[in-house]
Point group: C2
Chain length 409, copies 2
């Protein structure tokens, strides 16, 4: 993280006994003044109680949020009406402890599906966290939201003299029972709620929604951004803010994939020339989610037939005779780099494996060397139109099976 | 297989050098008289050359087929116009070798995507196979179509004095590069092509299309049925034929799942009470394809939260407050048993893990005992309508990663 700290925000991370290991499991984020807020939530049809609570809260009070409390260990999902009351009680406890107005605190939970939240432990945790609140509490908070994560995930961007700070954990698509992709982003920029909501939606679409590890979507996924306007900045370019937010979300999203369960490789799947952007996304997601493709990457096997087969069943419009496929070691520079050929992070030259739906003569040794790299970019060029998309994913390893075969026990 | 052999059909399986191991790799199936034929093909947008060839052949000549030749080792997929010419040359070679009319032989291929078919080897193989043709050649033929299969898959059913014999290999959704689910079914019943096509479509929908191992669909998947009318039967009940064909296809489909790469468990996913059959299928497929659910089965972890989460993102209509989930050791008796509670093969009592979207009090020990069984049935009851579906799948194990991480190399 940057040495610079956000104006007007304080943070704490404490252990209140939800994790059996005794690790930090309750994070508290507080603003000294009301924040504009926006959020995106899981589309899972079994949304967890905190998702339902926050969705209603943001609709009612999009410009007056003061705090977020996040617990790890128990997801408060599949807990019915009682769970919804628990989420409301957790928020009310924060508001009471910190003397905040009612309906000014959002809540998030991640962990095991099914059990009720132990409210007494959480209240004890809030009493611990309150005196610990400080700008430097950022790191402890980012650790307290971890579950199967092996490291905290944070990022910082500057724009027009304001700062944007983000923390994230897990990934609904990576992390199973201790599920959930959660991210909290705070900025001391002054941004109207409607502008914030538009920017977050656009940024999430090309960052958190463009990662995939196993195609599973959690019941608790939430990205929340709070803008308190505490910086001195008088003039904020909306485009500049959107670009910085998008860049920060992309950074956090890629960190999630790199820390994916059992991940040994970072894969960029790029589809260009599709009939539409939606088609490009379909094709890229099919490749990124295919267990056969993912195990081939794990094994370092330049098995392009599996990639074409995944594109072929994705539902995207395809003309085999126009389909090309390229691979290169390295990673696209980020959304800022657009869909131009990978540069900067690119290692060595791209290699064409498919031309017009068929393999040209290529060196198997060169292909194997690229597939042996720890970061690989695959480009499928469909030759049909201007549609394009990028999806980031990781490989499927023995360790993934270890972690998920015996997670809960 | 039954001791009874089909009237009018002969079979052979030989080794012509397509498999590096020297194992049988060319199967020949011949009828002594013209057959009505019907087939279902992969929906992959990169259909292999033999798929394109057979599709055109069956449209042109649905009542005059005499033979099928199947090679294993090379898929003849992603081979363009040259590959299509190779498929036609393979069919023409069979017709020439056996003195059959032109356009009377279908072809299938399974194996590595990309390389051209070595026609000289295949012609040598046909010269070997022709003198070996006999009713008893059935078993060798069923072995010659195997790739990563650990055993041949065959089934037999009787109806109205006729027989239906089926052989199958692999599964597009299980078997990657040496991809492809292939099945050939022969019957000595007399069935009109249009009746045969309707029956096959209906049977495949609830059998081969209801299995899933990793959600991948091959470029070569084909199910072909040939009816030569050589039996003495004068009166065939269409419903009886459909039921027997469906039962046979279900048997073969389940054999494919049981022999799935790395499979250690056989899982029946049953969804009832959906808003529609299509919704039930969506939900059942999402559960069956979820790597998190499949690794939980592998680990014997009664992790019902992952099952609900998969239903939640499947796209099916869901009301959490009406959703129930049951598990029981054992397997549904087959399509014949319909969607009634598992009987016959059921081991012990069903255990309810979710009631109205929440876990009731249940014994974790009982749940673990059920998840430790080698055959498990999961029932998700959505409480919304009359829609229902069954999907069969297997677990996701270390061995799956082994096989697919290093398959081609």
């Amino acid at each position: 993280m940057s040495n610079q700290l956000p104006f007007g925000f304080t943070f704490a991370g404490v252990a209140c006994g939800l994790k059996k290991t005794g690790a930090l499991d309750l994070a508290l984020i507080v603003s000294d003044r009301p924040c504009a807020a926006a959020a995106t939530f899981t589309r899972n049809r079994f949304p967890a109680a905190p998702v339902l609570y926050d969705r209603a809260l943001l609709a009612e009070n999009p410009a007056g949020l003061r705090a977020v409390a996040i617990n790890a260990g128990i997801a408060n999902a599949c807990t019915g009406e009682a769970g919804l009351a628990d989420a409301a009680a957790m928020a009310a406890a924060v508001e009471a402890t910190l003397s905040l107005p009612p309906r000014s605190c959002a809540v998030m939970s991640t962990g095991v599906i099914g059990p009720r939240l132990p409210l007494a432990k959480i209240k004890d945790g809030l009493n611990q966290a309150t005196p610990a609140l400080s700008p430097e509490g950022w790191e402890a908070a980012s650790r307290a939201i971890m579950t199967t994560d092996t490291r905290p995930k944070t990022a910082f961007r500057q724009v027009d003299g304001c700062g944007i700070w983000g923390m994230a954990k897990g990934a609904g698509m990576i992390h199973p029972n201790m599920a959930t992709m959660l991210s909290v982003i705070v900025t001391d920029a002054a941004v109207a709620p409607v502008v914030l909501a538009d920017a977050l939606r656009a940024a999430v679409e090309v960052s958190f929604n463009a990662i995939s590890v196993d195609g599973d979507t959690s019941t608790n996924d939430t990205v929340l951004v709070l803008a308190n306007g505490a910086s001195e900045t008088r003039f904020l370019r909306e485009n500049g803010f959107l670009a910085a937010l998008t860049d920060l979300c992309t950074d956090l999203a890629q960190q999630i994939v790199r820390d994916g369960e059992g991940a040994t490789k970072f894969i960029t799947v790029r589809v260009t020339g599709a009939a539409s952007d939606a088609d490009a996304r379909l094709a890229a997601k099919a490749v990124a989610n295919s267990p056969l493709v993912k195990t081939a990457f794990y094994g370092g096997d330049a098995n392009w037939g599996r990639i074409l087969a995944a594109v072929g069943y994705s539902g995207a419009e395809v003309d085999p005779a126009r389909t090309d496929l390229w691979i290169v070691a390295g990673t696209l520079g980020g959304v800022g780099a657009g869909l131009a050929p990978a540069q900067g992070d690119r290692k060595g030259s791209p290699l064409q494996l498919v031309q017009g739906g068929q393999p040209p003569a290529y060196s198997e040794a060169t292909a194997s060397a690229i597939f042996a790299a720890s970061e690989i970019t695959v480009t499928v060029a469909l030759g049909l139109g201007a549609g394009q998309a990028i999806v980031w994913t990781c490989d499927l390893s023995h360790e993934y099976v270890d972690i998920n075969g015996h997670y809960r026990t």
